[in-house]
């Protein structure tokens, strides 16, 4: 793959009739598999994800408990499947808020410029000065540990990423011939933004959505691990790893399997991002 092959006109969303990149297909397959596990997996297991059963604590993986049991006697596989629900939900809601708000703000600021745009750029300067993770934790600290605080915190911090991406595209596009033509024939400003600018400006954000999902899952499970996110005894992969931390030497399966689950789901989203970047001709 030489560097020049990625140049070329960028197709608008919905206008491609290209061969799909392999990474996109593999990534999508992984994500869909996790969605199916989260949706239907719990129906196939006989164990409870929360109920304590100390008689069966710390059992090795076996036919009865395919991935073993934890220190409370809960089936690791069962908790893993329920955890998939939590972590997928985290990826969705953690990304949706910033994506929607950031896109709208970026579109408006890029199209109209002026003082709102200057204010946006200053907010951007300040936000990128904070280590992302540190700012998210600080906001969660002020609210209270938990999933809702995590969503609020992510939305407050991360909309700027999308605003920046959309804005930088719109600034170029608003001078493009097809946009000037649309304005000339009297199409309203709102319609120009929604039907002419947005479809052409959104590709980098759509790619970033999937990279962002990776960061959101890793960050969310890190918060769960640190005790600042989803609270035990709820089944969440980071929480499960925290519970297994004490048993690394004796019952490795408690901490190992949820970590593999996070890595696999994140890999799925990463591959989708990689494939989409190729498909939409945006830089990875």
């Amino acid at each position: 793959m030489s560097a020049g092959s990625e140049a070329g006109p960028r197709p608008a969303l919905g206008s491609w009739r290209l061969r799909l990149p392999a990474t996109l297909l593999v990534g999508a397959a992984i994500v869909v598999t996790w969605l199916l596990i989260a949706a239907f997996g719990p129906a196939f297991v006989a164990h409870d994800p929360i109920a304590v059963d100390l008689a069966h604590a710390l059992l090795r993986p076996s036919a009865d408990h395919l991935l073993g049991t934890d220190s409370y006697g809960r089936d690791v596989l069962t908790r893993l499947m329920y955890g998939a629900r939590t972590d997928l939900q985290m990826a969705f809601f953690g990304v949706a808020g910033p994506f929607i708000i950031g896109t709208i703000v970026g579109l408006l600021a890029g199209n109209f410029g002026g003082i709102p745009d200057a204010v946006l750029m200053r907010i951007l300067d300040v936000t990128v000065s904070f280590p992302y993770f540190v700012l998210v934790i600080a906001i969660v600290a002020v609210l209270e540990p938990g999933l809702t605080s995590y969503y609020i915190s992510l939305t407050l911090v991360n909309w700027v990423s999308y605003a920046r991406l959309v804005r930088s595209e719109v600034i170029v596009l608003r001078q493009a011939d097809f946009v000037l033509a649309a304005r000339t024939i009297g199409i309203g400003e709102i319609r120009v933004m929604s039907h002419h600018l947005l479809p052409n400006a959104i590709s980098p954000s759509v790619v970033f959505v999937f990279t962002d999902a990776v960061l959101t899952i890793v960050l969310g499970s890190s918060l769960g691990f640190l005790g600042l996110g989803v609270q035990p005894p709820a089944a969440e992969w980071g929480v499960m790893i925290a519970e297994g931390q004490l048993y690394l030497a004796t019952a490795w399966w408690i901490a190992v399997f949820p970590g593999i689950a996070i890595s696999l789901l994140a890999l799925g989203f990463s591959l989708v991002a990689d494939g989409l970047a190729k498909l939409l001709h945006t830089a990875p």
Binding site: A3, A138, V218, L267
Partner: protein, 312 residues
């Protein structure tokens, strides 16, 4: 030397950003539930003591004036008191500065070493199996949770092979290098994919640039062209990425210091959040943000020093 005039000018441009940072950290504590003075002094504080602290931090004033007081206090290096540690926030933070800086520097050195090795190996033969493996690592590495990776390294190297200590910081410099090896490795593995992807892409692009082709057509060896011409020309984009990477590394220390029980600022922050020690949270956040701003400034200076064409 007027290329370096920005070294004097830039700090002035940073003032608005620093204002913004202070505003955000100020608002953080404004938003917290409960009375900050009660939190600072504890439940048994006398009414007089509370009134004195209120006056000192301007908390009996309107919000805008409170911000003014906050700024003044920050400029006087007064970040409030920690309830949990019963000491000024500044003292608590300074006591934990060294481990974090050691970990950051160690992690950065490792990341750079890994990045150069992987990116060069990949870019020498684009599309070959080495390149594919490096690419896979870059895609997969982004989603490896540091806290889990750290635990796996502890399990393998500390508990099974007994090569490294499970936790702590160490006393002598050699001891510190030994103690921080696994923590630094953990954050390096988290950051290397970002840097490698960037450097590999630049190296591959520069390998086909006119000057490289000209060098080869003169009969220069591939090694000579690559290491004398292509490599130095490819470093700048990756160096300018370092500011972002340090910000990412700092985020990594929060998790990694907790996993490896390194007595640094990241671990301090997590504990402070759990203890609701808000002024520590505020202080650490401010320190980290100012650290990132200063790093970007240094990176700018390095960029200008390395490339005569760059003007800032």
């Amino acid at each position: 030397m007027d290329r370096f005039a920005f070294v004097l000018r830039r700090p002035l441009q940073l003032v608005p950003v620093l204002f913004g940072i202070s505003l955000v950290t100020f608002v953080l504590v404004q938003l917290m539930p409960g009375d900050p003075v009660r939190i600072m002094l504890g439940p048994r504080a006398s009414a007089d003591a509370i009134a004195a602290v209120r006056a000192r931090y301007g908390l009996d004033q309107p919000v805008l004036l409170q911000y003014g007081y906050y700024l003044l206090n920050v400029l006087r290096a007064d970040f409030g008191r920690s309830l949990a540690y019963r000491a000024p926030v500044l003292d608590v933070i300074l006591a934990r500065l060294v481990p974090t800086i050691c970990l950051l520097a160690y992690g950065l050195v490792m990341s750079v070493a890994f990045t150069v090795a992987l990116a060069v190996a990949a870019a020498r033969r684009p599309g070959a199996w080495v390149d594919q493996m490096v690419r896979l690592f870059c895609v997969a590495g982004l989603g490896l949770p540091s806290f889990w990776l750290g635990l796996m390294l502890i399990m393998l190297f500390s508990l099974r092979l007994k090569l490294f200590p499970v936790s702590g910081f160490g006393e002598s410099p050699v001891d510190v290098l030994w103690h921080l090896f696994l923590p630094a490795l953990t954050i390096a593995i988290a950051v290397t994919p970002i840097l490698t992807r960037n450097l590999r892409a630049t190296l591959a692009a520069q390998s086909t640039a006119d000057y490289a082709v000209a060098g080869r057509s003169k009969g220069l060896s591939e090694n000579y062209v690559f290491f004398r011409h292509v490599f130095p020309n490819s470093l700048l984009p990756t160096i300018s990425l370092l500011g972002i990477v340090v910000s990412f590394l700092i985020g990594g220390t929060v998790v990694v210091e907790t996993v490896f029980n390194v007595p640094g600022m990241g671990q301090l922050m997590v504990r402070a959040v759990l203890l609701r020690d808000y002024f520590i949270v505020q202080g650490v956040t401010l320190f980290f943000a100012v650290g990132v701003v200063l790093t970007s400034f240094v990176v700018d200076i390095i960029t200008v020093a390395l490339d005569p064409r760059v003007k800032l």
